[in-house]
């Protein structure tokens, strides 16, 4: 068993795993959506096995605390990344201003097999938002006001946007470039109760030229076409801020080739009922991300680098730098991969730490050296040349 582990832990296996991982990564290069994820998962799994075996059997790793921490953390990262993929959720949602988020609003949902978050307990209300644009219609900062319940159950206002994320129950909500106008409409069927709802228009200003949508009133077969003529003050020449409060629109309603224009508050009689254009407002598109492992990944990654740093710091500090000591050290160096840990060539750390300065930190004077007498990088000549 131990023999099998040692074989699995060999550095040749590590190098094979790394080459496989490089190949997989190159296949992913620039085209991650169309390449099966297995091209990196299989090399990573192979390397995780190799790493586990190496941690157990390789004394160079498990006898050196820094290196051990680094490799255990590497393994931990791979495991956490796997768990993260199995428990994650990625989705989008579009929430009109004044509307509460609900799990039924999710679009393009992708979840891992083990996803079991409390999405049904996530609640917040979308408030007004602004998006700043630089001249040339280049998107700047987004300020999205949302109402969130605090620990006491009170609504509290928060401003999120861009890299300021809303985190509720572990679900992270990111504002996106995807946002636009929406029409708040009331449909009163003949002899029925009024129903109020929204019809979202395409993303704005991306689809400035195409602000249209269709809607079928409940209980009818007719398709009503909407076209929103927006005046949001959009300009290419100057800085501009997208804000529903500074925008107005005319809603063009087309039904059976009959075209009618509605301003806010106006209504139109259609077959089967009355449609009222209550208000122009906006919707915000959010990206939703859930992965319970990300904080752990961060801490483990930092711990791993600290371990690596500690190992290198010890190596750099303790190992000799002088010509003679290096020569001695090199005589111990094997030509084949090491089966046993390298023995430190120094027994007196303080002595070597002081020697550190001799080879590289002390200026070298060559005034007494004759170039013709030097045979390449003759160690003795360099030593003599030192003042």
């Amino acid at each position: 068993m131990f023999k099998v582990l040692r074989r699995l832990a060999s550095l040749k296996m590590t190098l094979v795993g790394m080459v496989l991982l490089i190949s997989g990564s190159m296949l992913m290069y620039g085209n991650p959506a169309d390449v099966p994820v297995w091209v990196v998962v299989i090399p990573l799994a192979f390397m995780a096995l190799n790493l586990t075996a190496a941690i157990i059997t390789n004394k160079r790793i498990n006898h050196q605390p820094g290196l051990l921490v680094f490799h255990v953390c590497l393994l931990g990262l791979v495991i956490l990344a796997g768990i993260g993929r199995l428990t994650h959720l990625d989705a989008h949602t579009e929430i009109p201003i004044g509307t509460e988020f609900g799990a039924d609003r999710l679009l393009e949902v992708r979840t891992g097999l083990w996803h079991s978050g409390n999405l049904d307990q996530v609640t917040f209300v979308q408030g007004p938002y602004t998006v700043q644009y630089a001249p040339g219609l280049r998107r700047g900062l987004t300020h999205s006001h949302v109402l969130v319940k605090d620990a006491q159950g009170q609504w509290v206002e928060k401003v999120i946007g861009d890299d300021r994320v809303l985190v509720v129950e572990g679900y992270r909500f990111y504002t996106t470039h995807n946002k636009g106008f929406t029409t708040l409409l009331t449909w009163t069927p003949d002899g029925g109760e009024p129903i109020t709802g929204v019809v979202n228009m395409p993303s704005y200003p991306l689809f400035d030229y195409k602000q249209d949508n269709e809607w079928t009133p409940p209980g009818t077969q007719q398709v009503i076409k909407f076209w929103l003529q927006i005046d949001a003050g959009l300009t290419l020449e100057h800085a501009w801020t997208l804000d529903a409060r500074n925008s107005s629109a005319v809603l063009v309603v087309t039904n059976n080739d009959i075209r009618q224009e509605l301003h806010e508050g106006e209504a139109v009689k259609l077959p089967g009922g009355v449609l009222k254009f209550d208000k122009l407002t906006m919707w915000m598109g959010y990206r939703i991300f859930y992965d319970p492992t990300i904080q752990w990944m961060f801490f483990i990654a930092v711990a791993g680098v600290l371990g690596l740093g500690f190992y290198f710091w010890r190596k750099i500090n303790l190992q000799p730098w002088t010509e003679e000591s290096l020569e001695e050290a090199s005589q111990d160096k094997p030509k084949e991969p090491l089966k046993e840990p390298l023995k430190e060539t120094m027994s007196e750390p303080l002595k070597h730490t002081s020697q550190l300065k001799t080879a590289l930190t002390k200026p070298v004077t060559t005034q007494h050296m004759s170039i013709s007498q030097r045979s390449g990088h003759d160690l003795a000549a360099i030593s003599k040349g030192r003042s």
Partner: protein
């Protein structure tokens, strides 16, 4: 340049000129033809190199400052800005190493011409103003970029020593780098730079992942730049495993370091600007 003289250009030229003087003086200093001159024997030329490097760094920092004031944001976005910023940070870190490790000073004749690739490149680019994306206000950007700069500078210092080891396989190289310690010492120092580079590369990737999570809602998405950065990390890890385990000839050790640097170079100055799906596309 066709867009006229903007605020940063004179400072940029002045900084690059200082680097050019440093390059020429360092070459003069290692040339066996001038070995007998008192200024060379007393290593005075090394202080001239160090002084020119320091002046170059200050001038380039002024160029960055002038541009910052002109367009309203730091050197984060366009290739022109990135190159100018890298020239400044690489110069600063190399100058510090040059000052603290006199034994590696002759390697400046390899390091400074590499920096001149960046210097020549930046002069061919238009200094047009770039747009600062909203996601770049994130504070993790500073640590990501700062750690990346240290990482690249350590690789560059390693490249200088790698070049020395390779050059010493020729008679000319042996003469030029006669005052440096043996290849064994140079090799060991070069790989110590590589070790430190791995630490900073890892930290850079962590900071980048946190920034990406905050800014774009994912810590890793295999975009072109991320993939390229991961490949660089893997190359570095492979190089260190090979170097620490096998007895590698010094010239091959040098080639390994240069290969890793080339990968990093492509990551920094290639991937973000050739692929629409890299970070540039995310802004």
């Amino acid at each position: 340049m066709t867009s006229g003289i903007v605020a940063e250009i004179p400072w940029l030229w002045a900084g690059l000129s200082a680097y050019m003087v440093a390059t020429l003086v360092s070459m003069w200093g290692v040339s066996p033809r001038f070995a007998g001159m008192p200024i060379i024997q007393h290593k005075t030329h090394e202080y001239i190199v160090l002084g020119c490097l320091a002046i170059g760094v200050v001038l380039l920092a002024t160029a960055i400052g002038a541009r910052w004031m002109r367009i309203g944001h730091g050197p984060w976005i366009s290739l022109f800005e990135l190159l100018m910023s890298q020239l400044c940070s690489l110069g600063l870190i190399f100058a510090l190493l040059y000052w603290r490790l006199p034994g590696m000073r002759p390697s400046a004749v390899i390091v400074l011409p590499v920096m001149w690739i960046l210097g020549s490149w930046v002069l061919t680019l238009e200094p047009t103003a770039s747009h600062f994306p909203a996601t770049y206000y994130n504070v993790w950007k500073w640590s990501h970029v700062g750690l990346g700069k240290i990482f690249l500078a350590l690789l560059l210092a390693g490249v200088g020593l790698a070049g020395v080891m390779i050059a010493r396989t020729t008679k000319l190289g042996q003469n030029w780098f006669r005052s440096m310690p043996s290849d064994m010492v140079v090799d060991r120092l070069a790989w110590r730079f590589m070790m430190l580079a791995l630490v900073f590369d890892s930290l850079m990737l962590i900071a980048g992942a946190v920034w990406a999570q905050d800014a774009w809602g994912r810590y890793w998405a295999w975009d072109s730049l991320e993939t390229s950065a991961f490949l660089t990390w893997l190359f570095l890890a492979i190089g260190l495993h090979v170097r620490l385990t096998y007895k590698v000839p010094h010239w091959l050790s040098g080639l390994l370091i240069i290969g890793i640097f080339c990968m990093a170079f492509a990551t920094y100055f290639g991937a973000p600007y050739i692929s629409p799906s890299a970070h540039k596309g995310m802004v």
